[in-house]
């Protein structure tokens, strides 16, 4: 097939998906939305299972033209606030999806890559939000400095949580992480002088670029976008960076070590994998993204309180990973987007949200434990072109990265 036809196929598929997403946003009736989503997701899952060879061909196609696909994706994503400028609410939902994508990717580093159960992820989100919120509000620190600081402080707490994780695992680790989440929650409520207690922190300033505040509508001369669009672009960039980082780390030696620890800690240790270093890094690296997401959230909404960072939020991020596919980066992204968008369509059933998450966890684990987009077997090939008898290593895990290691 000539190149341009392959590009055309890629473009058409992506446009189709994009149109579908816009359609879902546009349709009002939640039942029709559910039926549509069920049909499409069910169809895709069925197709992957039934015609795995054509799925693999399509996958390979996207892999061959990764740059083109990425380019089209960027254009489509950037176009979103322009198409939805009458609809700031949905831009806001898109921003939240982006934040959850960042968090889900971060949690996936712990739970998916390294197999370290963390049921207190909201704590990192909280630490990031309070760090950035308090620094920008009370100490006049620029958001652009507070953002990385929030990430780093969350990272430090990740390290701290990692210390007990060196000694305990499995069920015990789950307990420690829940306890960690609750302790942070209690501290937010009780350290009133610092955090404002249950009243939270109000009037957190919007980020500024020069004299332009991200909290004001974006005037491009020919078109004016609602202020949510500013945060949309910010989150888009941050999510892109997150994606880049996790894409780079998970097929690296560190990522492989994490997978080895996940599969069998004792065996990994016997092969000389440093458990201490790898586990601590898994927690710290994953926590960093929670902190970043929290900082953006705090300075966007302008108001934070302990209620924004409960155990429920930890469970929510966890169900995103389970829905999409543990250790599958595209899966995790899909899960995060679905679980942010679907509940928005069901505002009338607000009270049923948690029930819905509970059912997702149970049903996915019972019937499709690897998620909607399962992680693929990863292939490592040596630098020489395949077919000359060069060594091939395969491992389970985030496998769609195969091409990345070819060069």
């Amino acid at each position: 097939m000539p190149k341009w036809r392959e590009w055309l196929i890629i473009g058409l598929i992506m446009l189709l998906l994009y149109g579908f997403i816009l359609g879902v946003i546009w349709v009002e009736d939640p039942l029709i939305v559910l039926a549509l989503l069920g049909l499409v997701i069910g169809g895709v899952v069925w197709w992957i299972r039934q015609y795995s060879d054509s799925y693999a061909r399509l996958f390979a196609l996207f892999q061959r033209h990764r740059r083109v696909a990425l380019g089209i994706l960027t254009v489509l994503l950037v176009a979103f606030p322009f198409l939805q400028r009458e609809n700031p609410y949905w831009i806001q939902v898109a921003v939240m999806s982006g934040l959850f994508v960042i968090m889900a990717l971060g949690l996936n580093v712990m739970v998916g890559n390294a197999g370290l159960v963390c049921l207190g992820y909201a704590a990192f989100y909280a630490i990031g939000a309070y760090t950035s919120g308090l620094l920008t509000l009370k100490h006049d620190v620029s958001f652009w400095l507070a953002l990385p600081l929030a990430g780093l402080l969350a990272m430090a707490f990740g390290f701290l949580l990692g210390l007990p994780a060196l000694r305990v695992r499995g069920h015990y680790l789950a307990l420690v992480t829940i306890a960690f989440g609750l302790v942070v929650q209690q501290l937010l409520i009780n350290l009133e002088g610092l955090t404002g207690g249950t009243n939270g922190v109000i009037n957190i300033p919007s980020p500024q670029i020069g004299s332009f505040s991200l909290g004001r509508p974006l005037d491009l001369g020919f078109i004016t976008l609602p202020f949510q669009a500013n945060f949309y672009f910010l989150v888009l960039i941050l999510a892109g960076l997150t994606l880049f980082m996790v894409y780079r780390v998970s097929p690296s030696l560190v990522g492989l070590s994490w997978n080895a620890i996940r599969e069998d800690q004792l065996a990994a240790q016997c092969y000389g994998i440093d458990l201490t270093k790898n586990k601590l890094w898994a927690f710290a690296f994953g926590a960093f993204f929670g902190g970043i997401a929290g900082a953006v959230y705090a300075n966007m909404v302008g108001f934070i309180s302990p209620e924004n960072f409960t155990y429920t939020h930890s469970i929510l991020v966890l169900s995103m990973i389970l829905l999409g596919g543990i250790d599958s980066i595209p899966g995790v992204i899909l899960g995060a987007i679905l679980l942010t968008v679907i509940p928005e369509k069901f505002r009338a059933f607000e009270d049923w949200r948690m029930m819905f998450y509970g059912f997702i966890i149970v049903l996915m684990l019972l019937f499709k434990p690897d998620g909607l987009l399962p992680a693929r077997t990863r292939k490592y090939t040596s630098a020489t072109p395949a077919g000359d008898g060069s060594a091939k290593v395969t491992s389970t895990g985030a496998g769609y990265l195969a091409g990345q290691l070819d060069n």
């Binding site: 739970v111 197999g115 159960v117 049921l119 210390l163 007990p164 000694r167 305990v168 499995g170 069920h171 015990y172 789950a174 307990l175 420690v176 829940i178 306890a179 609750l182 302790v183 209690q186 501290l187 009780n190 004792l266 155990y311 469970i315 966890l318 389970l322 009270d351 049923w352 948690m354 029930m355 998450y357 509970g358 059912f359 997702i360 966890i361 149970v362 684990l365 019972l366 434990p369």
Partner: protein, 309 residues
């Protein structure tokens, strides 16, 4: 003397709290013993216990039977609650735990976590006005007496008696009956027990029923003690019960009892004697648990654990 009275008062309060932790911890430890599983839904069984008792009381009231001797009413309420929650426990085991047997630890842990959310939300959504706290009726004649300056409520006395009776009952069940023997065999080595012809599935489901019934009693006792119950009370209590089981040594029934009492004491004393301690009551409990996990992961009743290879 007054100082002593204060200490003893806190001791009694800690004992009451600890007894409830112990009853829940026993459930965790039983499940862990027979099937190496932490059942996150166990805290919700405890919450269900309180709600089922509340419903039973109102049904009894509707039939005009509440005027009976309070001992009869209590016995009926406890029995109904225990049976109902035992059945829920069995349903949980059959519907999600059994299909997940052999799956990685993480999966079984998360699936019971999912069930716990579903149970909790079901009560919130389907119990009339379930999102708000519910008043729990006084089932005992109200009253108290003083013993050397220590105020003892009838409720506390009842709570401790019931807990003690259940622990003694459990001792006989585990050590003197066939079922107890099978259970101990299963928890020592499931495969060997299976090869000796034991019906493992039945033993596991019975253990789930037993543990759930005990957890349910803790729920009823909690309702009677605080006179208020809420749909989300199971989460924190479940975590506390799990913590108590860990402190005592997971898989050890007596460890669970001791761990529960210890946790109850420590929390009460922290709340009473550390300045500003009551605000950090829960935090102190968790710090103790983390401390235990890090420095003595096998609990007070130390058993050397070898890693299976």
């Amino acid at each position: 003397m007054a100082e002593f009275a204060v200490v003893f008062q806190q001791l009694l309060n800690g004992l009451s709290l600890g007894a409830m932790y112990s009853l829940i911890a026993i459930g965790f430890t039983l499940f862990f013993g027979v099937i190496d599983l932490i059942n996150f839904a166990h805290g919700e069984i405890y919450m269900l216990g309180a709600f089922v008792a509340l419903i039973t009381v109102s049904i009894l009231g509707g039939m005009g039977l509440i005027g009976l001797n309070f001992i009869v009413v209590l016995a009926v309420v406890l029995l109904v609650t225990m049976i109902f929650c035992a059945l829920v426990g069995a349903a949980v085991e059959r519907s999600v735990v059994k299909p997940m047997r052999g799956a990685p630890d993480l999966m079984t842990l998360l699936v019971t976590l999912g069930v716990s959310i579903i149970l909790r939300e079901a009560v919130m959504l389907f119990y009339p006005n379930g999102a708000n706290p519910q008043a729990f009726p006084d089932l005992l004649p109200a009253g108290d007496f003083s013993l050397g300056g220590v105020l003892i409520k009838y409720e506390q006395l009842f709570l401790l008696t019931v807990a003690a009776v259940l622990v003694v009952f459990l001792y006989f069940l585990v050590n003197k009956t066939d079922y107890g023997r099978y259970m101990r065999a299963t928890s020592q080595d499931r495969e060997a027990a299976m090869m000796m012809g034991l019906d493992i599935d039945r033993i596991i489901v019975l253990t789930f029923m037993l543990g759930s019934a005990l957890g349910a009693v803790a729920g009823v006792l909690n309702g009677m003690y605080y006179n208020i119950i809420k749909f989300n009370m199971g989460f924190l209590m479940g975590i506390k019960g799990f913590s108590a089981a860990v402190v005592g040594g997971l898989g050890n029934i007596y460890g669970a009892v001791v761990g529960g009492l210890l946790l109850g004491f420590l929390e009460m004393f922290a709340a009473a004697f550390i300045p500003g301690g009551s605000r950090y009551q829960d935090v102190i409990g968790f710090l103790i648990v983390i401390f235990f996990l890090v420095f003595r992961p096998s609990g007070i009743f130390h058993e050397k654990v070898y890693e299976k290879v």
